[in-house]
Amino acid sequence: MWKTILRRILLMIPQVIILSVFIFALAKAMPGDPFTGLITPNTDPNRIEELREQSGLNDPWPEQYVNWVKKAATGDFGQSYVKKMPVATVIADKAINTVWLSLLTFVLTYAIALPLGLLAGRYQNSIFDRIVVIYNYVSFAIPPFVLSLVMLWFFGYKLGWFPTSGSGTVGLVQGTFSYAWDKVMHLILPAVTQALLATAVTIQYLRTEVIDAKTQDYVRTARSKGVPEGKVYTRHIFRNASLPVASTLGYEITGLIGGSIFIETIFGYPGMGKLFIDSLVGRDYSVITALVLILGIDTLVGTLLSDIILSIVDPRIRIQ
């Protein structure tokens, strides 16, 4: 078990290296450098050139890359051009919001998807199943930004139930109940929207897996033992049907963090996705590079997590 995980981690190393080279190249292709932001009409061009020389920007690329990696590994992503503070600080500030949003979304997604998918599969062709299929189909087809807009317009503006932007109201005292409640209120609309979108694939998976599992021979064996119908489902069908979904949990968790660009932008929620777009608009390239790198590694961790989860839940994989 631990050996498998360790080997999987070792296998990640070349991937991380390729990823970092790729992103470094991307960063180099982006216009501007840390000193672009300092330039005002009355700066001395020679002074800028001197600064560049000092921070190694005129070194050969391989050297620059190694330096960049060394710094990145210690969490030093340089300075934000626009905000004039360390990139790490800028990102950390927003990351916490995204984590909260992702967590709530994750919980909501499975709270909705698990019962819907499993029950729709069990009662295939019932009215309930048909409604789930339609819901599933619409949530699959609807573009995220359209749903987000409609949700914001309807629940935010028309009904006015939820705040329409931000992650909290300014002026509330941290630690009080109204502060926490306010935070939650800001979270709900984007989280529900994101969860509605994320349920589509999971429900579809679960439903077809349940339908498929129902016809398996081991289910017939269970019935021939005299296992009551309810137990046939809980002990045999649902467990086997959940397997492929369990294996995507890893992707889902990390995918949510990267996938919130639309949601955060539209709901004005100050997380990493919005930071990314804002940085692009403000041409804050050091932040962009750091974000892409973090999310790349985040995706890698996701695949690792998925593999580990699968090897835990499926004994057939555990052996190898």
Partner: protein
């Protein structure tokens, strides 16, 4: 039906290959699929006929005095911030979205299916190399990287947008069709063809590929919808089509300001509805085709 599950059945009930008539029959049994097809056809005709009539240059001319005009007989769906006609932009935007979605789908399908089949058929070293490349692209945060590319590419056009998108979105297909080729290649007719002296290329594309055709078509349709979604999504954020090119996404993007979202519904709602209807219809068609490919799910 339990009976048909028997391993060595008489065969008379085993699954027939999916042909064009099976699709036709599946559609004729499925009203929603027919309606979806009609919607798509009408939209296509309307959009392409409209785009011939409409002069894009004139349409995109800024008319500051007409900013955010409400719908009227002159501007059926009102105007945007620069006083440009929404209805006209809707038509041209839809045309652009459809064409771009279509191009990306075709390009990625050709690359993905070819690489997938080659990889799955040969296995071994070739497969290893191709799949490592696919693995690498898969772990990239694609959405972000595409956006970054869009912003740093000089002389950015529709064409470069299609290329950037295609460069990333073939990998999923390659992986899908590789696994399908692997399982298809395990079937004895592939071995038979090898012993019958048929060449590798012919086996891959004349023997194996026809057996994946239903999957390819299904995947193509659903991908078409997804690609339209991605294009409009990026345009919505402002990182899709160039700003002087009308796009459904750009129209909906105006709603990023709360004033437009809350009070000037005519700017963004028609485009949203159009996208929604298009996506629903195309997806439904894709699913109907998918059903006709799967004998178990056929309606009749």
């Amino acid at each position: 039906m339990k009976k048909t599950k028997k391993k060595f059945d008489n065969g008379s009930e085993s699954l027939p290959p999916m042909g064009f008539n099976v699709i036709v029959r599946e559609f004729s049994k499925d009203k929603i699929a027919m309606i979806s097809l009609a919607i798509i056809l009408i939209t296509l005709i309307g959009v392409f006929a409209g785009s011939i009539i409409i002069d894009q240059g004139a349409l995109m001319k800024v008319d500051i005095f007409n900013s955010y005009a409400s719908p009227s007989s002159e501007h059926w769906l009102g105007t945007d911030i620069s006083g440009r006609d929404i209805f006209g932009q809707l038509i041209i935007g839809a045309k652009n979205s459809l064409l771009i979605g279509f191009s990306i789908t075709i390009i990625t399908s050709i690359i993905g299916v070819t690489i997938g089949i080659i990889s799955g058929f040969y296995g071994g070293v070739i497969d290893n190399i191709l799949m490592r490349i696919v693995d690498f692209v898969m772990i990239l945060p694609m959405q972000m990287i595409i956006i970054v590319f869009v912003t740093i590419i000089p002389k950015y056009t529709i064409f470069s947008f299609i290329l950037i998108m295609s460069a990333f979105y073939w990998v999923g297909k390659a992986r899908l069709f590789r696994s399908k080729t692997l399982s298809e290649g395990r079937r004895d007719y592939v071995s038979a063809s090898k012993t019958l002296g048929t060449g590798d290329l012919k086996i891959m594309f004349r023997e194996v590929m026809p057996n994946l055709s239903s999957l390819i078509i299904t995947n193509l349709t659903i991908n078409f919808a997804a690609n339209i979604g991605i294009e409009t999504g990026l345009s919505f954020l402002g990182f899709g089509l160039p700003s002087d090119t009308p796009s459904l996404g750009t129209l909906i993007g105006y709603a990023k300001t709360s004033d437009v979202l809350a009070d000037k519904v005519w700017v963004w709602l028609p485009a949203s509805l159009l996208i929604l209807v298009l996506m629903l219809s195309i997806n439904y068609i894709g699913q109907a085709i998918g059903r006709s490919a799967d004998a178990k799910q056929r309606l009749g």
